[in-house]
């Protein structure tokens, strides 16, 4: 069945360093991949969605590239900001089943 696996637990980074949160997936279909971000005491919001045509989605300095060969959709940013501290969820939309959310990665950016 479809599934998504992401960097679990806590990631702590110093401001200004690059961000990379891993996400790999399994799907028997051609899935859409998503990254959602949840700031403290807020609802999750869509950050990025994969395109069907190999374009690289970007938003708020974050980007992710869907690599079908490695079944990955890693989230990257060149320089972390304090305001990037949040929970990040990778999600997959595959075949008959709806969404699969990963377990979430808590990113903390320190000065």
């Amino acid at each position: 069945g479809d599934s998504v696996t992401q960097t679990e637990g806590l990631v702590t980074l110093t401001e200004g360093l690059p961000v990379m949160l891993n996400c790999t997936y399994q799907s028997t279909y051609s899935p859409f991949l998503f990254w959602y971000v949840q700031h403290l005491n807020e609802a999750p919001k869509l950050l990025l969605k994969s395109f069907t045509d190999n374009k690289r989605p970007e938003h708020q300095g974050f980007h992710a590239t869907l690599h079908k060969s490695s079944s990955s959709f890693h989230l990257q940013k060149s320089s972390a900001q304090l305001s990037d501290s949040a929970l990040y969820y990778c999600a997959l939309s595959g075949g008959y089943q709806n969404f699969y959310f990963g377990k979430g990665t808590s990113l903390t950016v320190i000065p």
Binding site: F32, F34, Q38, E42, A43, P44, K45, L46, K49, L87, Y89, S93, Q97, N98, F99, Y100, F101, K103, G104
Partner: protein, 113 residues
């Protein structure tokens, strides 16, 4: 952008009582979801709902839970009876199609005493 509303924002009830959480999804959306988030933990899928039926549910969706959306009104999550471990924030979400972006409501914080 499209908004999902949830009522109430907070609810405090005694263990064993019934509670209904209400969600007003985006008006033209067809798929509806409930998620549970215990304080400090990740969000977990409970159930999704389409065309008047539960499509998929997780192990967290106990027999005491039920969902419905009568006549296109609120999409509701009912817990009867409640237990202490039901204390959490419950997020509702909706999407136009089953593969489309989900829009989340602000959540209902449920406290069971």
């Amino acid at each position: 952008g499209p908004k999902v509303l949830q009522i109430p924002s907070h609810q405090i009830i005694d263990m064993g009582q019934m509670v209904t959480l209400n969600c007003d999804p985006v008006s033209n959306h067809l798929y509806f979801y409930w998620y549970k988030q215990i304080l400090g933990q990740q969000m977990e899928f409970l159930v999704n709902f389409y065309n008047g039926k539960v499509m998929e549910k997780s192990k967290l969706f106990k027999d005491q839970f039920s969902v419905e959306r009568p006549d296109g009104s609120y999409f509701t999550l009912k817990i009867q009876p409640t237990a202490l471990e039901d204390s959490a924030v419950y997020f509702c979400a909706s999407s136009l199609g089953r593969r489309d972006e989900q829009y989340f409501g602000p959540g209902t914080r449920l406290t069971v005493l």
